[in-house]
Symmetry: C2
Subunit: 445 residues, 2 copies
């Protein structure tokens, strides 16, 4: 059983009450880690000679490892290839034609590349929704991080695809020493009919897991769902039984008041990826209203073809800014609330609020050290303000996941960036071939 | 006369036609600099033994030094002290009470701190609008960067203040070997009456300089101007003669159609600082419409008490994202147009479009090298996309201003960050004293 002591940190503490968030800093504290759990957080003072590893965090902020609640990590291999287009063309002329090039090895190397980028930026857990997820799981195992993996399926693939992804869920549940959890991942109500979604729910129940699905990505999707099915995408989720299992809804960029009520009554969390919404002009997403309705919200990056990076700090910064803009109220989404969403809120969306999202005794030892000594933070009148509005991914210096150091002082310990980049670059010419008529799906919600 | 050769760079070229922007990359090119001017840009191949300095930029992007068209740089000393409040309280309860603590030395050290942050982020020129600008000028001289400095005045200070700032304009015009230009800087129509503004214009004409002023920061300012003066802030500018000199209008977060027409007919540029507008819920600013009307737009950070950083990359990224969102059109403000605004557009707002904002023979040698080798750029399918949507200030490696290297490989050559931070920190306890009733002005537009 290994032991790790982090000394002299400024430890961010977010109160657990979602309805009145507060952010405080415990100055000059130490964090004691045994095996993969936090044993205690207390003023610096322990004799450090009894620990296997000691990290001096003098002047750094210690905070929970960041959680990316919705991504398509391996998509990094395509980034920069679909710019300045609307969501229809983004799917039909770019993303889905590009993905017709996808091979299992691309997922492995893309996942490694994205995980390396996320570790550098302090992300220790990702809820990923993509294809060939057995290969993605191998990458997570190697990276040493935590993941909730879902193998995406479309209705057009037929019921065999559900059986295949159910096998994945069963086989990889608890893999990588418990760092990997699994989930069923039907793509969206507009690409899966009711019976197909019901079959996914049945599989989720058999495997005692949840459902991770795209819901109401735009208001137009809600309108067309009403036109074709007579009900909203959120109501489709209810009708097919998704609310009978824990669920992650990606996006929900707009929702009717009745949808809000429905979501507030069930165990569903919303993954919020604001950069994608801005770039694709999908709408601002009513996060202030979700929160008022008591619906858990977490931060996400979505895939890098819409979001360009897997930088959760960008999501953290955009979240309050866009909510202030769209409501016209500068007091909305104050700094402690944004930090709550980035930590405990995101953990709750993954159903792991008792294990992740806080630096407290008994929690899993997922933690990052953020350097606030840079000129762009100085003078440091307010650490919470600097975390939301000044911090860059490059300020993250050290990353610990499951009690293991995966990055120390900016150096990745589990992955070799140069080797990963070389592998991905070698396939660039194949990956950027785009035949619009050759697409894996048609976007016509 | 010193000579400098930058070899093996990927050189960003932005076409000069504002109405149809295009961004291209000249791969493996060299830039020849003699004294403070660019002599030529051509494929790498010169014998490098005849140059005083040679920089190998292999794999880096060379682009024009960034221009911050509106800031209050020394305000960095107060950053993080006014969060989650509306613009009324931001001025009355925070900013203007805090500034009652301001001493000339604070401006000097705050300016040095902000200039150091900006150099690290690739900003080589700033149009700064603040107080005690003789001290700010000394900081610019030391930093080795370029600035257009205006000493802010309020009507309540009386006409002596205009005379004092006119003296500053005369004395510092062309200072620091021509790197410093000056401008008259009345604060805003709502803090200066018509006669006071006319006197500022008269001083500007005498000194053959322009006017840098806050205009229509919110739609409410336009409404209240109509209520009190019968005309909009833009019309006030016309009435008092501001359009008879070159002008920088900071913000213009909303404008009537008639204001658009008026601005399009005169030599006025708009400084756009989107992060501030989001944080203070001031509105999205109709940049798409400004551009359609042919009004020059440049990027800005405003001061760090609203913007938190002086990071122009944040402004560059928010600009297209917010325009896509507010218009609901994802095709609006495409990548080449955002890059045009960041380079030639910003230069034009400062009236320096023939000297700054492009890497071309005859232009001033203000240039930065951006490292795109980081994981968050890879694989690099599109350099222009990566510059807008992936680049962080920390990717800037080398900064050249007026032909001199002010940062090389991440190391500042003209400033000592540790010494500057120590000076600023020493005064933190005094600076964060905030007595709401002790304010330098009253915000009541």
């Amino acid at each position: 059983m290994s032991s790790l002591l982090i000394r002299r940190a400024n430890v961010l503490q977010i109160a657990s009450d979602s309805s009145s968030p507060s952010a405080t800093i415990l100055r000059d504290h130490e964090i004691v880690i045994h095996d993969n759990r936090i044993e205690c957080v207390q003023p610096t003072g322990l004799d450090d000679s009894h620990f296997d590893h000691v990290i001096d965090a003098n002047g750094m902020v210690a905070m929970p490892g960041l959680i990316n609640t919705h991504a398509h990590v391996p998509m990094v291999i395509f980034r920069g290839l679909a710019e300045d287009v609307n969501i229809d063309r983004w799917f039909n002329d770019f993303m889905w034609p590009l993905e017709s090039n996808l091979q299992p090895d691309d997922v492995y190397w893309g996942m490694l590349l994205g995980l390396a980028e996320m570790i550098q930026g302090g992300v220790t857990t990702v809820a990923d929704h993509y294809f060939f997820m057995d290969r993605a799981a191998q990458a997570v195992e190697k990276a040493g991080t935590r993941a909730l993996l879902g193998w995406g399926v479309f209705g057009s693939q037929g019921y065999d695809a559900i059986a295949q992804t159910e096998n994945f869920v069963r086989e990889y549940q608890g893999a990588a020493n418990g760092r990997i959890h699994t989930i069923m991942a039907p793509h969206a109500p507009y690409t899966c009919d009711d019976d197909f979604l019901r079959a996914c729910v049945a599989a989720a129940k058999r495997q005692q897991v949840g459902i991770h699905i795209h819901v109401a990505e735009t208001m137009q999707q809600t309108d067309s769902s009403i036109a074709s099915r007579g009900i909203t995408p959120v109501e489709v989720a209810e009708k097919v039984g998704i609310f009978e299992v824990p669920a992650i809804f990606a996006h929900v960029c707009d929702a009717l008041a009745s949808d809000m009520t429905l979501m507030s009554k069930h165990k569903v969390g919303i993954a919020h990826a604001p950069k994608t919404y801005l770039k694709l002009a999908m709408g601002g997403a009513p996060v202030v209203e979700f929160r008022q309705a008591g619906i858990p919200v977490g931060l996400a990056t979505d895939g890098a073809v819409s979001n360009n990076t897997l930088d959760i700090w960008e999501s953290l910064r955009l979240l309050p800014m866009i909510q202030k803009m769209r409501t016209g109220v500068a007091e909305n989404m104050p700094i402690p609330e944004a930090l709550y969403i980035a930590t405990r809120g995101s953990a709750k969306v993954l159903g792991m609020e008792h294990e992740l999202g806080a630096l407290e005794a008994g929690y899993l030892a997922d933690m990052i050290l953020v350097d606030t000594s840079g000129l762009h933070h100085q003078p440091l009148h307010s650490i919470p303000a600097s975390l939301v509005y000044n911090t860059r991914a490059s300020d993250v210096r050290t990353v610990i996941c499951d009690g293991q150091i995966v990055m120390q002082d900016g150096v990745l310990r589990t992955l070799d960036p140069a080797a990963i980049i070389a592998q991905v670059r070698a396939n660039m010419d194949r990956l950027n071939q785009r035949v619009p008529s050759r697409r894996i799906q048609e976007y016509n919600p």
